[in-house]
């Protein structure tokens, strides 16, 4: 087996295992027992949180920052395209160029967000080195995934970058790929239970 592919496999196992450990450590904090009577439906709140609640019309912050939202959407779509390409590569099914284009577009989104973080003082002020490392690794992953679709000679570099990304993911803020889901769940359950979300008007 190609040692780089083996490395990706091992890094994937590390990443998944470390994320599971992180999740279990979070679970160890315990669940808050609630005694007050619900006024709404927590499940409806959770459904809303994962659907309409993520749409621009639900968030003033998104409406006021449409370019950042667009860059973020592109970035994440590109990363998912890169992951799809990785899956296809590991399965020996080739790397379709259409996904490569999506990954490259995603990388441009990542570069835009990195630029914003570097040049906007307030964003720089709330950043730590991890923010830059995480962005560079994820953007590099998407970019190299895209480039490899057109220039297969970049495959080795892409796989090395992938190994680095997978090793780092649980260590820094990329862990939000896991914690996004419980956070969104608790957000929806809280406002749903209190009858605030889904909104009535």
């Amino acid at each position: 087996m190609n040692p780089l592919l083996a490395g990706v496999m091992l890094a994937t196992i590390w990443c998944a295992g470390a994320l599971v450990v992180l999740y279990m450590r979070t679970k160890a904090f315990g669940v808050r027992q609630l005694h007050s009577r619900p006024a709404g439906d927590a499940r409806a709140g959770v459904r809303y949180a994962f659907t309409q609640g993520m749409a621009p019309q639900a968030k003033e912050s998104v409406r006021m920052n449409p370019l950042s939202y667009l860059a973020g959407m592109l970035y994440h779509t590109g990363i998912f395209a890169g992951l799809a390409l990785l899956g296809l590569k590991l399965s020996g099914l080739g790397t379709p160029r259409v996904l490569g284009i999506v990954a490259l577009l995603g990388a441009t989104g990542g570069i835009a967000l990195l630029g914003k973080r570097m040049f906007k003082a307030h964003l720089r002020g709330i950043s730590c080195p991890d923010d830059f490392v995480s962005n560079l690794l994820a953007t590099g992953f998407a970019a190299l995934a895209g480039i490899t679709c057109f220039l297969p000679s970049f495959a080795s570099l892409w796989l090395i970058e992938t190994i680095a990304l997978l090793i780092y993911a649980p260590l820094g803020k990329i862990r939000h790929c896991l914690f996004f889901f419980p956070t969104r769940y608790h957000f929806g359950a809280f406002f749903g239970r209190r009858g605030v979300l889904p909104p009535t008007a």
Partner: protein, 441 residues
């Protein structure tokens, strides 16, 4: 010694044992949800404009993510592996005097716990939950701003947060009863005190007997019109406020809540009705049972819901023509965004006022007036409070309303100050005052 000096002196005197105690309390307030929140922020910064502090003073320290990072940095350093192994990489910081000072500034000085940032967070982090944990930790280190703590201490000692004596309270109720009888022309109109077995126990904000007796009279008039079976209590349990929600010492908050529970048991009432107060409603309806770790054997509702029911059931009738002026509504954060009471006050106002206009944004997206989170009780942050209220002042101006209605006495106070500060030239009223004036036989 001023409050500012006292807090600074305390900060300087902090020891390692204080930090450890603070961290233990902080850890004890975190559950699975909060631990997830502390791992979820991506520092996108899109929350900035959702905060009224940032809108009015766009400095780094006012960005919700920056306030959160102050807290998260300590969490990472003390409770995560990466924070211990590579603190510089992940922005972890030890709890020390500088961090304690930063925490005080972030969670007491730059946040009204309004939760607007939560709705606008790209991930959905409930930031006030984390800020409340931080306030609790600071309290354990003796760093609750003294004037805020004094409000809680007064409530614990006197049974109400303005140290009103039983004699003064009873006299005030009797005086308002006479006023109500004159206003209605009904010598049988009552403000019942300690009526055993009454269906409803009504609770008020001590500001009403102290400064706004007409507000209590208005609520009483609505009950009179609806022929409600209700009572006040002469002893502890008439004050609906609970600043334990703001100093975040759950044990103290629980003791204050217990006054309400004891009064309900003493009088054998079915329903506890919370007068117009945002934090009072959130405390009694949502947090009280959590502080006491048991469910109440009675129902808790807001007087807004009750008035809405009266109108729906035809128990009271109102004539909106009695309020021809343009009226707008300020949504108290603890009643609406954190309380779930969104539409009742709107139905009531639409029925009672001829020209009701919404602020933009409204309901769960409303801007805090700046008086929430205990800010009204923390004199050291007054300038920031009034400045942050500029968002609300602008919202009010944009409606061109002559009357601003708000179902919260803390908001009434803050809006009153904003009225002067920003020369809004509006009247500030509660919902019950609008309804009482619009009542028809």
């Amino acid at each position: 010694m001023s409050d500012v000096d006292e807090l600074e002196t305390r900060l300087e005197a902090l020891t390692e044992a204080d930090f450890q105690r603070g961290l233990e309390v902080f850890r004890s307030k975190l559950k699975e949800a909060e631990a997830a929140f502390l791992n979820a922020c991506v520092h996108c910064g899109l929350c900035a404009e959702s905060c009224h502090y940032y809108r009015m003073d766009p400095v780094l320290e006012n960005i919700p993510a920056a306030k959160l990072e102050t807290i998260a940095a300590v969490f990472k350093r003390h409770f995560t592996t990466m924070g211990k192994v590579a603190p510089g990489l992940v922005g972890a910081r030890s709890m020390d005097k500088d961090m304690a000072r930063a925490w005080v500034d972030a969670v007491f000085g730059r946040c009204s716990l309004c939760g607007r940032c939560s709705l606008n967070c790209t991930v959905g982090i409930l930031l006030p939950r984390l800020f409340r944990a931080a306030r609790a930790a600071l309290g354990a280190m003796g760093l609750t701003p003294p004037d805020l703590q004094a409000t809680v201490d007064t409530a614990l000692k006197h049974g109400n947060n303005m140290a009103i004596t039983r004699e003064d309270w009873v006299e005030t109720v009797q005086w308002i009863e006479e006023e109500l009888q004159m206003e209605t022309g009904d010598p049988e109109a009552r403000l019942p005190l300690d009526k055993h077995g009454a269906k409803i126990l009504f609770t008020v904000n001590p500001r009403e007997p102290k400064f706004f007796p007409l507000s209590l009279q208005a609520s009483a008039k609505v009950f009179w019109a609806a022929k409600e079976d209700w009572t006040l209590t002469a002893d502890h349990g008439w004050d609906l406020t609970n600043y334990g929600l703001f100093n975040c010492k759950d044990e103290e908050a629980g003791l204050i809540t217990q006054n309400l529970v004891d009064a309900m048991a003493r009088l054998g009432c079915e329903t506890l009705v919370i007068g117009e107060c945002g934090h009072g409603f959130a405390s009694a309806r949502w947090e009280g049972e959590e502080w006491l770790k048991q469910g109440f054997p009675f129902k808790v509702m807001s007087i807004l819901e009750l008035m809405d029911e009266y109108l729906r059931d035809g128990r009271i009738k109102v004539d909106p023509a009695k309020h021809p002026k343009k009226v707008t509504l300020h949504d108290p954060c603890n009643l609406v965004r954190h309380g779930g009471i969104c539409e009742a006050q709107r139905r009531v106002l639409r029925a009672s006022a001829a020209d009701f206009v919404e602020m933009t944004p409204n309901r769960e997206h409303n801007f805090c007036c700046g008086g929430g989170g205990g800010q009204l009780a923390m004199g050291r942050y007054k300038a920031r409070r009034l400045n942050s209220g500029g968002m609300k002042a602008q919202q009010i101006r944009d409606t061109a309303a002559e009357v601003v209605v708000t179902p919260c006495h803390n908001c009434v106070d803050q809006l009153g100050e904003l009225n002067k500060e920003y020369k809004l030239k509006v009247q500030i009223k509660t919902v019950a005052e609008i309804v009482a004036d619009a009542l028809v036989p």
